[in-house]
């Protein structure tokens, strides 16, 4: 049963978190492209799709900690330091995603410089938009880094006695 739970946990992590990291990483660059070509409706369409991927797969992502906790319980490792550390880092990553990344994407999509079809393409507005995209790129990078830390912790398991 432990092996089945662990398989579902790893599979959920690959299938759910993978698309979020890829789509979220593509979002800032796609924003810059959409700002550079405000008359092209495809730019906004790409942004909408990327945002939808992030939202839906972030929701599916709750399966990862759910099955992770179930696996940890059946392995009896819930009190181990490496696991508690990775739970804390996971919570931090989820908070960055829910509080910073997803609302940041939604704010860019709600921006009238993109939705207005290029009516207000002032140079100052475009610079502001680029700045917003850069900040979003930074928080997305932090999110990806936190996830990488969790994955490494799960593989290395410092201090664990349950084998390599």
């Amino acid at each position: 049963m432990t092996k089945l739970l662990l398989s579902i946990h790893v599979l959920a992590a690959i299938v759910a978190i993978g698309p979020v990291t890829v789509a979220a990483s593509m979002f800032p660059a796609a924003t810059r492209r959409a700002l550079a070509e405000p008359a092209d409706p495809r730019g906004v369409a790409v942004l909408r799709n990327l945002h939808r991927i992030c939202r839906v797969y972030a929701t599916l992502g709750v399966l990862v900690p759910v099955f992770g906790l179930a696996t940890a319980r059946s392995l009896d490792v819930l009190g181990d330091a490496w696991l508690i550390t990775s739970i804390i880092v996971t919570v931090a990553a989820a908070a960055v995603l829910i509080v910073l990344v997803l609302p940041g994407q939604a704010a860019i999509l709600a921006d009238d410089r993109l939705a207005g079809g290029g009516t207000g393409a002032s140079p100052g507005g475009t610079i502001q938009g680029r700045r917003t995209a850069a900040r979003l790129g930074m928080v997305t990078g932090i999110f990806n880094l936190l996830w990488a830390v969790v994955v490494v912790l799960m593989i290395v398991r410092p201090g664990s006695t349950t084998g390599a």
Partner: protein, 100 residues
């Protein structure tokens, strides 16, 4: 129908079905592996219902309905079907009324 709504419907069905199976298992054979597998399935579906509801609607009462154990997802879908105006995103729920 949008992706979030489809996710909500699937999670709502899994939420109720897994609860029924869990209780049936408890009442009859009480087989431990079934409980330890279906437990996380039910918990995950419950959380996905809440997350998908938050994305589909901004209405507070509908969001609180999602927290109801077992049948929360189905209740949310009934509320959305009755009052399609509660949808937040452009075209989200108006599409679901015709797309089903």
């Amino acid at each position: 129908m949008t992706v979030s709504f489809r996710l909500l419907r699937m999670a709502a069905l899994v939420e109720l079905a897994s609860l029924i199976l869990l209780l049936a298992n408890l009442a009859t054979v009480h087989w431990a592996p079934v409980a330890s597998l279906l437990g996380p399935v039910h918990g995950g579906a419950y959380l996905i219902v809440i997350g998908a509801t938050v994305q589909v609607t901004a209405d507070l009462r509908t969001r609180l309905t999602a927290v109801v154990p077992g049948v929360g997802g189905l209740l949310v879908m009934r509320r959305l079907r009755r009052r399609p105006g509660t949808g937040r995103e452009d075209g989200d729920v108006s599409m679901s009324a015709t797309g089903r």
